[in-house]
Symmetry: C2
Subunit: 594 residues, 2 copies
C-alpha cells in the first residue's frame, strides 16, 4: 500500500489526504453532461420568461419595503364588474362545477349570506380523506420535480388569471364573510393577490441564491479534484391548509402559494361557511396546472360541514407534514401538539391601544373608532383593550382627564356607527350568529357603557348587523381584558399611569399575544422605551396612527403580518422563515475526477 513517507508537504486536501490520499491515483471517469432530474416543458419555461421580470420587481419591493403593489386596489381597474356580478348570481343555488377533481358526492355547504341570511345553496365535490391524500401524494411525485422556475411561472400565471375574477371573488367574499363590498373586493382581490406574489417573490429569492448545479474544483497537488454538485430544493411533504371564515382568501393565499412554490401539493380544507371565494382561486390553479400538462390535483378542495368536520382526520394523517391555519387558539394548540408537523398558525390575540399623550385627541379618537369598527371588529388586527391613564392624557397645551378621553372615543364610535352611510360601508355584517351572541353576552358584565344594537343596512334589510358593546373595566387585571372578544367591542381600561399600561401590554403580549398594538405618545423617551420593551415581547407596535392610515392594515411588500414571536401567531406573512421551513436543500455530488 503506497503511503507517503516524505511528509507530503503541507496538506492540500483536508485531513483526509494528510498521509494516505495523495498517492491514490485519480482518474477521469464517467463524465456526464449533467443529471436530468427535472420534468421540464418549454411551454412552462415560457411562462417563467413571461413572469420573471415582474417577480424580480416584487422581490425588490419586498427588500425595499416602501409602498408598492402588484395589483391596483381600484375596482375600476378591472373591467369585469358586470361579468363578476352575473357569474356570482349564476353560481348561487348551483353546484360549483369548475374544479378539475372528481367527487364521490356533492356536498351542500353551510354557506349563508350574512346580508340576506339565506343559504347560498352551492354544492362542492367531495371525496374521502384517504383519496385526497392518495391524489396529493401522486401529484407530489410530479410537482416536486417540476423546476422551481416553471413552478413560479405557473403560479404567477394563476394570480394573473385570478385578477380577472376579482369581482366575482368580491361578491363571494361579501356574501360569506359579511365584509362590506369594498373591503371584500380589496382584501380578497388585490391585497390577497399581492400576498400571493409576495410569497412567490420570497421563494424566488430563496431558490435563486443557491445554484442548481456547480462544478467544484480543487487542486490536490498531484491531481485535480472535480465534483459536480447539484442542489435541489425538495418539499418537506404534503400540505394541509385550514381556512378561516372571515378572510377565506387573504389569510389563505400566502401559505397556499408558499407551499405550492416549494413543490408541496396542498389539500385545502376551507371553513365550511366560506368556501366559495377560495374555490374560485383553486379552480383557476387547477385550470392552469391542467393546461400545462400537470395533475390539477396539485391543489385540491376538501370541503366539509360544521356538523361533520374532517379537519382532524386530515391534520393527523402521517403524510401531512405542513399545516397552515388561522383560527382559535385551542385548535391551534391542538395542531401544534401533533407530532411531526411543521405549522404556520395565526391564533387569537388581544390587541391593545395605549394613549399616553396626543397631539389632537379628536383625530386620535376618529382613527381608533375606525379601526375598531372595520368589519365590525372581526379583523385579527382589530383593537380591543384601550388603556387610558387615570392621571389623564397630555397634549402640548393641556391635559385631558381620563373621562374626557373615554368620552371622545365613545363619541367618535357613536358618530360612526350611527351614520347611515358610514356604518354599512365600514361595519359590514357579522360572519355568523355566534359572534353576535358572544358580544351580546358581554352586556352581563359590569361597566357596560353602551350595549350592542343592530344598525339598519340600507340595502339588505335582513343583514346580521351589530354595533359595538363599549365596556369600562374597573382594573386592568379583570378577566375580560385577558381574552379576545371577537366582534364589535371596545374595552376602556383605566391604568394608574401610561407606564402601568405599558407593563400591562407587555404581560398581555407574553401571555395572550397580539397581532397589532397601537401607542399614542408625543414623548420621545416613552416612545423609545415602549418600542424596546414591546419589541422584546415580539409585538409589532404602531405609533400615533391617525388620518387615513390604520393599525389594522398590513400591506404586502412592506409590512410583516404577525411577528410569529408571541402567542397570537407562530409565523409571519411573509418572512424568509415562512418559505424556508417548507423545504430542504438536498445536495447530490458526482465525482468527475478525484
Amino acid at each position: 500500500m503506497p503511503v507517503a513517507d516524505d511528509g507530503a508537504g503541507p496538506c492540500q486536501a483536508g485531513f483526509a489526504c494528510a498521509v494516505w490520499a495523495p498517492r491514490l491515483q485519480s482518474q477521469l471517469w464517467c463524465i456526464f453532461a449533467g443529471m436530468n432530474l427535472y420534468h421540464t416543458d418549454p411551454r412552462r419555461a415560457a411562462l417563467w420568461q413571461k413572469h420573471e421580470g415582474r417577480l424580480q420587481e416584487a422581490l425588490a419591493a419586498w427588500q425595499r419595503r416602501t409602498y408598492w403593489a402588484a395589483y391596483s386596489e381600484d375596482p375600476k381597474a378591472y373591467p369585469h364588474a358586470e361579468e363578476g356580478l352575473s357569474d356570482f348570481r349564476a353560481q348561487l343555488r348551483h353546484p360549483f362545477d369548475r374544479l378539475r377533481q372528481e367527487g364521490d358526492e356533492w356536498l351542500i355547504a353551510d354557506e349563508v349570506s350574512p346580508y340576506t341570511q339565506e343559504p347560498l345553496g352551492i354544492a362542492y365535490p367531495k371525496t374521502t380523506v384517504a383519496e385526497y391524500i392518495r391524489r396529493a401524494q401522486e401529484a407530489l411525485g410530479v410537482w416536486r420535480w417540476v423546476p422551481w422556475t416553471e413552478r413560479l411561472g405557473l403560479l404567477f400565471e394563476s394570480v394573473e388569471r385570478m385578477a380577472a375574477r376579482f369581482h366575482e371573488i368580491a361578491h363571494a367574499t361579501m356574501h360569506t364573510t359579511g365584509q362590506a363590498w369594498m373591503m371584500a373586493f380589496q382584501a380578497s382581490g388585490p391585497h390577497a393577490a399581492d400576498r400571493a406574489v409576495e410569497a412567490l417573490a420570497v421563494a424566488y429569492q430563496e431558490f435563486s441564491h443557491i445554484p442548481a448545479e456547480v462544478d467544484w474544483m480543487r487542486d490536490m497537488g498531484r491531481s485535480q479534484a472535480h465534483v459536480r454538485k447539484y442542489f435541489t430544493p425538495q418539499p418537506e411533504g404534503l400540505s394541509l391548509h385550514i381556512g378561516v371564515s372571515t378572510f377565506p382568501v387573504w389569510n389563505t393565499l400566502p401559505g397556499l402559494y408558499a407551499s405550492l412554490a416549494v413543490g408541496s401539493p396542498v389539500i385545502l380544507k376551507p371553513h365550511p361557511r366560506a368556501i366559495y371565494p377560495i374555490a374560485i382561486v383553486l379552480a383557476i390553479l387547477q385550470e392552469v396546472f391542467e393546461e400545462y400538462g400537470l395533475p390539477p390535483t396539485i391543489v385540491q378542495l376538501a370541503p366539509d360541514t360544521v356538523e361533520k368536520p374532517i379537519t382532524k382526520a386530515l391534520a393527523e394523517h402521517p403524510l401531512i407534514r405542513l399545516i397552515d391555519y388561522t383560527g382559535s387558539t385551542a385548535f391551534g394548540e391542538y395542531l401544534e401538539s401533533l407530532p411531526g408537523k411543521i405549522t404556520f398558525l395565526e391564533k387569537a390575540g388581544v390587541n391593545p391601544i395605549l394613549i399616553e399623550s396626543v397631539e389632537d385627541l379628536e383625530a386620535v379618537a376618529k382613527n381608533i373608532a375606525f379601526s375598531a369598527s372595520l368589519y365590525s371588529g372581526q379583523m385579527c388586527t382589530a383593537p380591543q383593550n384601550v388603556y387610558i391613564p387615570r392621571e389623564g392624557v397630555r397634549t402640548k397645551d393641556r391635559v385631558f382627564a381620563y373621562d374626557e378621553v373615554r368620552s371622545a372615543l365613545e363619541k367618535a364610535i357613536q358618530d360612526l356607527v350611527s351614520h347611515p352611510k358610514a356604518a354599512p360601508a365600514i361595519l359590514g355584517a357579522l360572519q355568523n350568529e355566534a359572534v353576535g351572541e358572544r358580544i351580546e353576552a358581554l352586556t352581563q358584565a359590569p361597566g357596560v357603557r353602551k350595549p350592542p344594537t343592530p344598525y339598519t343596512h340600507p340595502e339588505y334589510q335582513q343583514a346580521r348587523t351589530l354595533t359595538h358593546v363599549l365596556i369600562e373595566l374597573s382594573a386592568p387585571h379583570e378577566n375580560l381584558a385577558r381574552e379576545e372578544h371577537f366582534g364589535p367591542r371596545l374595552l376602556f381600561i383605566p391604568v394608574a399611569s401610561a407606564k402601568e399600561g405599558l407593563q400591562e401590554i407587555y404581560q398581555l403580549a407574553k401571555e395572550k399575544g397580539m397581532l397589532s398594538c397601537a401607542i399614542y405618545t408625543i414623548d420621545e423617551n416613552f416612545k423609545q422605551a415602549s418600542a424596546r420593551l414591546l419589541a422584546e415581547a415580539a409585538v409589532p407596535v404602531s405609533y400615533n396612527y391617525r388620518g387615513s392610515v390604520f393599525i389594522n392594515q398590513n400591506a404586502a411588500f412592506s409590512d410583516f403580518h404577525g411577528t410569529g414571536g408571541n402567542p397570537a401567531s407562530n409565523a409571519s406573512f411573509t418572512d424568509t422563515a415562512f418559505i424556508v421551513k417548507r423545504f430542504r436543500w438536498i445536495e447530490l455530488r458526482d465525482c468527475i475526477s478525484g
Copy 2:
C-alpha cells in the same frame, strides 16, 4: 361626522378609506429623527468596518458554492505551533482560568486522553443552572440591542483570534477526542472556523436584505401618508448548546455563532469528556465581548460530569428557547419532545454505500476503506452498510462476482489498518471505552469476517486503538443493518440486485436517516433514478467518490452538512433555515403624517 357622499373617486388608500377616511384631516406631527433603539459603540462599529469585506466575500462563496475557504488547512500557515504545544502542556493538570465568568467551585472534568489514557486534570469554573440562566437573561437585554453589524464584527473578530490558537485547540482536540493530529488540527481549527464564518455570512445575508428603517409614503389624494417603519431582528430567546465528545468544536461552532449572531446569548454545556477545546473558543469570545464593553456572559461555559449531568435541567428551563445538539437519537428525541423549544439536532444515522457498477474496483475499495477508517469510524458521516449485489458488479470490461467485491474491500481495509504509518494517521484512537466495548460486542454476531483488534500506535503505547470489525450479513433485513454501530465497523450486505439495494437504502433513510450515502454506478439511468428517489427521502448522495475526495467531507461554503429532512438530523449546516428559525423580524411603525 363628515362622510364622503360624492363617491370619492377610485379608492387610493385601501378599503379603510373607501368612505370614511378621506375626510379625516391629516397633520404633520411629532417628527422624530428616528428611534434610537440600539446600543451603538464606535469601536465596535470599527470592527464591522474591518471585517465586512471578508464577510461579503464569504457570502459570495456560500452563494457560488465553488471551492473557497476562509482559513488555510495547512498548519504551517499559522506561526503558533510551538506556543500552541507549550500552552497545551502548561494547561494540563491546571485550572482553566481564562474564562471571564465566576464559578462557585472548580469542577474537575472527566477528560481523559485517548492516547495516554491519563486524565487531563483540568478544572473548570461551575455554578448553578439558575445562575447561568440569570446571567444569560441579563446579557440578553444588552446583546439583543447591539446592532447586528456590530455583533457580526465582534464575532468575526473572535474567529480571527481563534486562528492564533488553532495549534493549542488541535492538541486539546486530539487528547480529548482521540482524533489523529492532522484531523484534530483541521476539523477543530480551519474547518470549524470556516463553518463559523459561514453562519455569520448567512446571518449577514438575512439581516441585510431587510432595511433597518424606511420611509413609507403614499399619496392618499387629499393627504400624503408618511409612516416611518423600523425592522429589528430579535432573537427567539436564550440558547443552549449541548456539545459532543467526538467533534467538540466543529459540531458546535455553526450553532454557537448562529445564535450569537441573532442576539441570543448561549449557555454551552460541553460534553463532559471534551471540554478543553471548546473552552478555548469561549474564552476568546468572552475576551472580545469584555474588551468591547459587553458582558462576557453573552456566552457561558456550563460544564458537568458524566455522573452528575445538568443537561436536562438546562434544556427544560422555560427561558431556554433554542437548543443545538449533536448526539444520540434517544436524547435528541427527548429534546424534540420538550414543549416550546426550537431544536437543531444531529442524531444517529446509518450511512450506506451501494456498489452498482464501477470503473476501477481497486480505486473504489481504497476510497471506501479510507472513509470507513477515518477517525476509526467515529465520524457521523462514516459509512457502515455496504450493499453489494449478489449478481455481481459490472465494469466496462467484466463483471466482478459478489465475493470479489467483498474481498477487494477487505483487502483495502486490511492494507490500510496494517500499515504502520497509515493506521495512526488515519484511525487515531477511540474517544472512550464504550465505543470499543460496543464494537467488540459485535463479534457475537454471525458472519464476522474479521474481528476488531488494537493496532500499535508508534508514539502512544497506551493509545485506545481498535481496527474494524467486518461482518457479512445474510440478508439486508437483519437488525444489525438497521442500527448505527458507532466506531470501526463495516457491514457487507448482499442484495439480489442494485435495485433492491436502492430500495433498502430508501427504506433505511425513511426509518433511520443518514448523513451520507455513497453510490457507485457507471449507469446513467441508475444514477438518475437513484438520485431522484433518494432526494425524495432527503438523502445527500455522493456518486463515484474516489481518489482524494471522500464522502465524509462536507466543506463549508459548498456542502450542506445534513439535509435536516431525514431522521439523522432536523437541521443543516448551514442553510437559511439554520439562521432564520432563531429570530423574528419585529416591525415598529411611526406615523409621521396620516
